[in-house]
Symmetry: C2
Subunit: 226 residues, 2 copies
């Protein structure tokens, strides 16, 4: 059966869960802390990162796919419908640019200093909070919401007039930040309206049901009308 | 005319130069330090990173494409021949995995602490060498060469029996490290034989002719029979 090695609050893992759900594909979710040096993970992905998709493609056999951006391309090629990328070259470049924006830039600016410090450090029993890094992360979060709002003033979805991997990457990252209750939604009405729309999609439901032992989500985390 | 905003020793920029050359595409190269806050760069890529490809696709108009992994996908779609990815899903996943391996993991483990400290810090007039980071970077470089050698014991090229974006990403990163003379080639004969083969390709020639003001390359940098 199709499996996904993942971590519940890892944004890149969440993006792949969203892509699978939007394409109507099911997968067994296997919680796999990358720092545990798990043998199955090492065999499937020598880079020792999650997510890793173990797929049984329609053409037969078994295939291990990683990292997240490669899984996204693989799923779009192997399971074309519904398409999560536009049909034109320019449209695809824009959807991929914005997915990478969240997976690389939002990750480095916001989720690395905030989410990973809170969640991963906690799971590993570390405590190395850096107040300056937290302040810079929160400033960056506001700047990213401002950029998303600017895009959403011109477009129904982040990369154009249809839902794409850009929206799924953004929702994956922002939903993880939102678990911590650090997203200033009220200051960014366009981004908030877009996230309300995202939250009401069936693909988001399993993510909004995630709960971490000993770390409760923000009060509005699962509420589509926050 | 097609343009590439790049930095000569930036590995991701080098990868795109190699892909363009392998596909027989020419581009005007525009040296663009990302830390200068250049207006053309901000307009073409709000993430303010290089490389950025400004293309005039066969279908008309002008398009700005970034970051590097998105440019690679764009070029493979817009200029399919010669193909730099295998035809099968599994083959494409493996070529993309290894390209990402160098662009994400080799970059973080080796080129961020070694190359970027030496080259970018120098260009920006900074001096912040960290001896521990340098030692860890060199250890990681040997580990990566070991992994590449293991792959090349089983395959003619990194991702299989044909040249792919994996080889171009690896050559882009290793050629930048090799400019500094830090690659212990003699200890890794398989990796060395592969790099000799790469160096003799016409696509590599412009990279091997790059010279940085005030920082001479290693003696064997441009020599295919090093």
């Amino acid at each position: 059966m199709r499996s996904l090695f993942h971590m519940p609050l890892d944004p890149q893992s969440r993006k792949i869960r969203l892509i699978l759900a939007e394409k109507g594909l099911t997968a067994r979710l296997v919680v796999t802390p990358p720092w545990d040096g798990h043998e199955d993970l090492a065999r499937a992905n020598p880079a020792m990162s999650v997510p890793v998709l173990i797929d049984e493609p329609p053409t037969g056999g078994e295939i291990a796919v990683a990292p997240d951006a490669v899984i996204a391309e693989y799923l779009e090629e192997a399971y074309a419908k519904p398409a999560l990328m536009p049909a034109t070259s320019a449209g695809r470049a824009e959807a991929r640019r914005l997915a990478a924006w969240f997976d690389i830039k939002f990750e480095a600016d916001v989720n690395a200093p905030l989410l990973r410090q809170r969640v991963d450090a906690r799971l590993q029993g570390r405590r190395d909070k850096d107040p300056d890094a937290i302040r810079r992360g929160l400033d960056a979060l506001a700047w990213h919401l401002d950029y998303a709002s600017w895009l959403l003033e011109q477009r129904s979805w982040l990369a154009g007039d249809k839902l794409t991997i850009a929206d799924l990457a953004a929702a994956a990252h922002l939903s993880a930040s939102d678990y911590l209750g650090i997203v200033p939604w009220t200051e960014f009405p366009e981004a908030r309206a877009w996230y309300q729309k995202m939250k009401s999609r069936p693909s988001m439901r399993p993510l909004l049901a995630d709960r971490l032992d000993g770390l409760a989500p923000s009060a509005h985390y699962a509420d589509p009308d926050f």
